[in-house]
Amino acid sequence: MSSESIYQTHTRDALPPSAVPRIYGLMAEFLQPDQVVQAAKAAYAAGYRQMDAFSPMPVEGLAEAIGFRRNRLPLVVLIGGLTGAVTALFLQWFSAVVHYPIIVGGRPFASWPAFIPVTFELTVLFAAFGAVFGLLALNGLPRPHHPVFNSPNFALASRSRFFLCIQANDRHFDLDKTEQFLRALNPREITVVEA
């Protein structure tokens, strides 16, 4: 792996292995949401697991077709909501009973019915934080750069096209065989995605 060879030749074969573009996967492009769902199901049936599908809007059944089973977001939201409720109750109880007890209108210090509105609001607030930040964290966002953006037509994934990407790190991935497999699914185009 001498550095000279880079200067001597510009052909891909002569480049050292580290300079050859690594492949992230194969991207097949479809025009219709139903096609990409069918393709994803076929790929899953053929044994592919490391794959992802991309669409300009949510497509019914697509996540299930690529083998997505466990959605942990509702749990995150539940934990957020409970945290909010406990925080609010503790805050009000601690300040009104422990830290600065003061009699107002002859009411008990721990006048819990009056504590409910604030408790409700903080429950909703923390649950909403859970939903939004949980969504971002589980999706691995923000992530401005991702290999799939190297695919030439990928800008259309946010407009009108549907994509299925079988990743090179899949056990069954083989550049030629996987391309043949995808070709049989009748996509509009197949491109190699560089990593």
Binding site: P33, S55, P56, P58, F68, V77, P117, L125, N139, H146
Partner: protein
């Protein structure tokens, strides 16, 4: 611009989407307002007028900060004037946005799709205006953080049993959740703008805001869950916010405030005025930007029906208030509701309120008025005025004549009150005009879903199918 009849599709349903649209055309149409069109003369004119009003607002606020709230008309006994009237009015307007985006989503009303983004923006800007008023009314707004529970050297805590503290939490939670809900809805559309922006600065800014959204199926799955859960959270939230606003009044023992009907009829009134504001804004918008395929006559018709229902609930509230004032046997309440309001010094506001809120809305029983944009627009403005008057009547008349005639007084807004009020409309409109230019006014993602659904339904009926992915590739 007025159309005599609703347009029908071949099955007899009034469509929620114009014919012939594909995933590509809805994307191009909606994003072009932001990305390719230069500002139109009407936009520049509207923005300029709004901005002048905003400057007037800033001037009035500056004067307020320098000289104190003595420049307003508030006095003893009328300690709450325009500031609280405007606070309740603005926050009520905001509620329709949440109703459209959250409650109608849960009820699977697909006609909400093309107005929800716009209505949510309206919510956000209305809440911004609303939130300023109680802060300005503090007298020393720079000490606003005294409202919050924080450890301080005086060892003081908020009074948790007061609705005014409930209000701090309700309004700040509402503003935050509305912002989050709006932003989550925007993320895929920001990705669309990132991919379609021509200018470098557009790519960078939209790319930054889109956070690298790439439309992965796994991401969409969680996204849908998050969106539904946020809608489920926002639904009780919006009811709680206006209930708490109503509690600000009902917990006080002032005759005219101290009544249990307030929370439900405040919520209905909020939705009523909010839908009126959505119509006031969307009718010129859809006409000027050619969005009649997306905001169709069906939307106008449905919104008018919602206004009719909420208007009737509000009317019922007024009737019950009057009935209970008589039936309850409290002489102070009876005097306030049955004598002072209809015949006292503020009688003109009360009669005008009945005319605007209870009488004119009855026109919506007729399809003619529900489907003619000009009529709808005029009536929606009348209802906005009516709902403002309602809050004026509740706040001012109740305070001006309570238990002892020795403590009676009169209130009139000063020039500074009016400048702050109209100025806040300028703030609201300025934000809206900017929003129209920099973000998609209609959710592009949800319109694509609507295209898909309309297409599927067309298949099911064997109707002529435009294949949404192929035409205009």
């Amino acid at each position: 611009m007025a159309q005599a009849t609703l347009r029908h599709d071949e099955t007899g349903d009034v469509p929620v989407l114009g014919p012939g649209h594909t995933y590509g055309t809805v994307t191009d149409k909606i994003s072009s307002i932001v990305l390719t069109e230069p500002p139109r003369p009407g936009w520049i004119f509207g923005f300029a007028v709004s901005f002048v009003l905003l400057l007037m607002f800033l001037f009035a606020v500056l004067n307020l900060l320098v000289r104190g709230i003595g420049i307003w008309g508030v006095n003893v006994p009328i300690g709450w004037g325009f500031d609280i009237v405007n606070f309740v009015w603005w926050i009520g307007i905001g509620h329709a946005g949440t109703l459209i985006s959250a409650i109608l989503l849960l009820l699977r009303q697909d006609w909400r799709t093309s107005i929800n983004r716009f209505a949510e923006a309206m919510t956000l800007f209305a809440v911004s205006c609303a939130g300023l008023y109680p802060l300005l009314h503090l007298g020393r707004p720079w000490l606003f953080y005294w409202l919050l529970p924080y450890p301080n050297t005086m060892a003081l805590w908020p009074q948790w049993r007061s609705p005014l503290i409930f209000d701090v939490f309700a309004v700040s939670t509402y503003a935050t959740v509305s912002l989050l809900f709006w932003y989550v809805g925007l993320i895929p559309d920001l990705a669309t703008l990132r991919d379609r922006a021509k200018s470098r600065i557009g790519k960078v800014i939209y790319g930054f805001l889109a956070m690298g959204w790439r439309g992965s199926a796994r991401h969409w799955h969680r996204y849908r869950t998050a969106y539904l859960l946020l809608a489920g959270l926002a639904t009780p939230l919006v009811v709680s916010v206006h209930t708490i606003v109503a509690l600000d009044f009902t917990v006080g023992i002032i005759p005219g405030w101290h009544t249990t009907i307030f929370p439900p009829y405040f919520v209905a009134g909020a939705i009523y005025s909010g839908f009126a504001m959505v119509l006031t804004l969307s009718i010129p918008l859809r006409s000027y930007y050619g969005l009649k395929d997306f905001i169709t006559d069906k939307h106008l018709d449905n919104m008018a029906k919602v206004m009719l229902v909420t208007g009737l609930i509000v009317t019922y509230g007024y009737l019950m208030e009057a009935f209970m004032a008589w039936y309850g046997g409290n002489p102070y309440e009876e005097f306030m509701i049955l004598k002072d309001r209809p015949t006292g010094p503020y009688a003109h506001t009360w009669w005008l309120l009945l005319l605007c809120n209870c009488t004119i809305v009855q026109l919506f029983w007729f399809r003619y008025f529900r489907t003619h944009p000009i009529w709808l627009w005029v009536i929606s403005i009348v209802i906005n005025i009516g709902m403002w008057l309602e809050r004026y009547v509740i706040v001012v008349t109740s305070l001006h004549a309570d238990f002892l005639p020795s403590s009676w007084g009169m209130y009139h807004g000063t020039i500074w009150d009016y400048m702050t009020y109209y100025g806040s409309i300028g703030l609201f409109l300025t934000l809206l005009f900017l929003f129209i230019r920099v973000l998609p006014v209609i959710s592009i993602t949800e319109m694509r879903e609507l295209v898909h659904e309309v297409h599927e339904r067309g298949h099911a009926r064997g109707g002529p199918a435009v294949t949404p992915g192929t035409a205009h590739p």
